[in-house]
Symmetry: D2
Subunit: 346 residues, 4 copies
């Protein structure tokens, strides 16, 4: 089969023929219909410090996808051939405290398919039955390959109260953009989007953020304070991972508010614990992955009811053989979510 | 001033001149612009068993309204003359356990203006400063007099998780109808409305319930089980107070779901605790009034953001002098929320 | 091996030799060291209406036990021979909504070992690896066979806020007695125990309930109202399943309080929804089984820290061959928790 | 009357005669029986940077006390002369969002008696009726003057789940010591106390912490990891406000755990958001004051039930005239909570 292969511990990746993978008694072999590209894939491609520490080539990356069940092991009971499926790519151990108390998304021994094992930038991918998510026919197929990052957004938005609240989203990559749609769908009453890249700001407006702020030109805190009557926002969803946006998050959250952190940072950032957290009585949460599988049920319900219009986020569609071009597009900052078709775009 | 007066412990009420009420140092005198009629007012008018036990004539009823600040006591600091206001009519004692722990809506010593003291079916009404709610200019004035019942709906919908959930509303009086709009606005993904009166079902459709069921012609449980894949709904908002609708509530709620009870019942109803509650692991909540003042902030935010279209619920507008005609309209079952204008309809 | 066998659909059971059970690739064969008797086992023995509907003889009952790992299937990875273990006997399907959202204790397809499959009143019992609970060496072995009912108590007590709260427990069978100890250990500040049987009241006093009330001689509501300054209790744990105790539960819970229902009822009971639930703004919860596996971690932590003295509840120890005598002891109402030794009492 | 007076914007304070304060219609004049000294009082005495920014001399400090009602304004209804009372010294505005939604402890406009207005190091102090806390006769009088800091501890411990959890307390000043007792009383199963001062470590042992660690001699993280089987603690209560203890907090909290921050820091501290918060999926809370008045009810219930032995924390008792000696004692690090008697020690 054709696959994107990170062969060596160095920048780049190649698209070439590899054997169709073998699968075990409890596994499902899925024929990939569409995969999509995450920022993580760019880290792996660029072979940055994080990738050097985490990735062990050779590896087929790719952890966002949908496809059809091609075959399965003899202990699998819940799928049939031809079922249209996606999957949770965090494979939790099922045996640690977190897994056994409903917190599998922070499993102590998690393995990520596409990071720690061969992933979905290929014609076929192997997934344990436990991680298969059967796609409800009511869900727009257009969205079937982007459930992983949509799940990040749903998990972050719903990690605390959100109905009838004001929300600021710092960073409008694909997850931030999804979060705009999700927050609106579940009753956030004003959504501020803060983003420095003009392409992303344009998309944020298309996603119907109430206010889209360019922090390189406007004082984001001042704007938000004015629009909230000096109060600040009830909820900040931090999705940039940049020191400036994290500083802004603490500045704009109201007393008693919540900051949910999803955006990864690359170095330590100073916080004034007394002024930023204690006196304001705020709650700061670290958000990781998606709840297994509460988030998946929530996504399905929201998509099925037509509550989410995610089309603006999908900016590019490419054939898998052109994978390197997709990497180039991401680097320009003009692309948001790129769909990858193993057998060429339709 | 002109007022609706329940003079005697007997059916009926009269519209006549009474003195403008006096007010104390911490009170606000409000010139009523619009009041609206609640089912409770019909109970008082009809002088049914509940009214006979609770009401001490003479009384000016009316507990839903908006108006302008006309005057205020010398210790009042938060309003100015001419401010456009509504009010929470449950006057909590402020000193009981419930009041001092954020649960003033279930105060042990609550007095309700319009029930236990003279209310808003009059040109002027006296409200303690603590209970005044200043109306945000961003709120449609059309809705300013119906915040009390809208608050019941918001309190009930938001009494538990609701985003990405399926919801059934049993009983589509004004609060049930409001609940349809609120549930949709905060991310309920399917809303079932169950109502026996055809006028109300028509309104439920206008409020955009996904499914409107007539339990006199359809098997509500069967319909809901089919539409939810045999699961049942995540949340039931019980707003009819009828034995049949309460029976339905227990039948249609899914394992682990929630039933929030708002509709008042007039006699005991048998429940099979093991089958209905324990084996299903459900939660049943009693809902009373509105949270002071969290619900008011939530309503304001939802209305201001344009998330709620409540127009279908307002079916009638009358001059206060025609109060008895409004009572007659309610008895036909054709009217839903009726607005009352002390000085004639605009 | 020796086992208690319910051979026919009729009252009684016999103790006789049966084959050691076979086990599958993901199963663990446990040599039972101690089992204990639940009220359910008496229902099965007596062959009452519930048993007639649920049980399909022949069956080896018994769902509370501890023992040593004797053997296991080739896919089992988490135990070794000789490990001292207990088990969660509710085998959840792992595939329904409830199982996949952290609510496996209300799985739609649960099977109970000892009810739907052969259980622990035998020298050996087969348990799926997923349901094995390895016993922390810090836990008193004395308590290792009673974790199932202790788990019911922990689940019920911790199903809502409990620290610094007043609690009433209606019904002092073994689970009610355990609940006294658990409630005290987690900060309940006053514990009322209500129980009609004098043997059980004696045990409730030994478990250190603050007040032990005989509702056949005292007015339980009046006593509790007096001791709580007219307020009522914050939390009621209903563990009798009797119409009178359920009536009491609604009478004594304070406004805004919680009633957690564990005791199974055999027929419908009338509730005045307005007075009992809505006006008081209370929450009523159905409690089922134990959280998998949060409750097990909580139990382990409480036992290991020495916070729970459960000795008074264990009133009898018998050899398995004398199983019928245990049934007779239970019927007298004098026994509470009876331990059963497959190979004779030590 | 005699009072401690901070006359000038400079270090020190004097004890001298001042007029008994006047009081308003809604105020209560309390004759102080015992006051106690907080670290804040030492800051004011020392006139450090914080004090220079916040305090406007002349001021009578002191915000922990108990006493008897001496007189009250004509609108006060809930106390009688001679009532034994304490008070919440954070006077909330009652009109901001936080106050009106049950979060008065983070009021936008709070004034603190003893910081922003004359306090309790005097024979008499004036308190608004709303802030008076009548002391239940069941509470040991010994503890009546230390409810303010005990309330900080109760608020911090109960700010999240605690029953059956492992807890680390970093910093064993009076509030940290109280937190040990509170955590144990509400079911924390292992309490680690981390403290560099040997006097405080001795007190931590007297308060029955399970493990008392000197971070200057032992590797606190290593000890805790070993004692928790490599997992880390469920909950960290950070009460030192020191960069080292905050670093330790992030190191020892388990995945999915909670850090509740009470200890004030004087400068920014660097946090590795990805490693410390996001990947671990933890929750970090800022804790401020006490919940009005939920915390007060909780304290009362815990004290009344005899669940808290706080005696070790009270190390010194002095007459108010010797106030400067108390300051000197605090500076030695040997004293913990010091009680101050306006009219000499008993």
């Amino acid at each position: 089969m054709l696959a994107v292969v990170k062969q060596d511990p160095a920048p780049g990746a190649e698209v070439r023929e590899v054997p169709i993978p073998a699968f075990g008694r409890t596994d499902v072999l899925v024929k990939v219909k569409v995969a999509s590209i995450c920022g993580t894939d760019l880290h792996i491609y660029n072979w940055d410090r994080w990738a050097q520490n985490r990735i062990h080539p050779p590896l087929i990356p790719g952890h966002e996808f949908c496809g059809e069940v091609a075959a399965f092991g003899d202990e699998v009971t819940s799928v049939r051939q031809g079922d249209f499926v996606s999957a949770e790519m965090h494979v939790a151990c099922g045996k640690c405290l977190q897994c056994r108390t409903g917190e599998a998304h922070i499993c102590q021994n998690v393995k990520i398919i596409g990071v720690d094992a061969n992933g979905a930038f290929a014609e076929y991918v192997v997934i344990p039955e436990s991680n298969i998510w059967k796609l409800d026919p009511g869900i727009p197929q257009e969205y079937a390959s982007i459930l992983d990052p949509l799940g990040n957004a749903v998990h972050t938005v719903l990690a605390g109260e959100i109905a009838a609240k004001t929300v600021a989203i710092t960073g409008c990559g694909p997850i931030g953009l999804f979060a705009i749609a999700v927050a609106r769908a579940v009753g956030a009453t004003t959504v501020f989007a803060i983003e420095i890249n003009e392409h992303r700001r344009k998309l944020a407006r298309e996603m119907k953020a109430d206010y889209v702020i360019d922090p390189s030109k406007e004082n984001a805190s001042a704007v938000i304070m004015e629009k909230t009557g000096g109060l600040g926002v009830d909820v900040v969803l931090e999705m940039a991972g940049h020191p400036d946006s994290i500083r802004t998050a603490f500045d704009i959250v109201r007393r008693g508010g919540r900051i949910s952190l999803l955006g990864l940072t690359s170095k330590p950032i100073a916080v004034n614990f007394s002024e930023d957290i204690i006196f304001k009585g705020i709650t700061v949460q670290g958000i990781n992955g998606r709840r297994m599988y509460q988030t998946w049920y929530q996504m399905t319900a929201l998509l099925k009811s037509g509550r989410l219009d995610l089309h603006p986020v999908i900016t590019d569609r490419i054939a898998m053989k052109d994978f390197s071009q997709a990497m180039a597009r991401l680097k320009t900052g003009e692309a948001s979510k790129i769909l990858v078709y193993p057998n060429g775009t339709k």
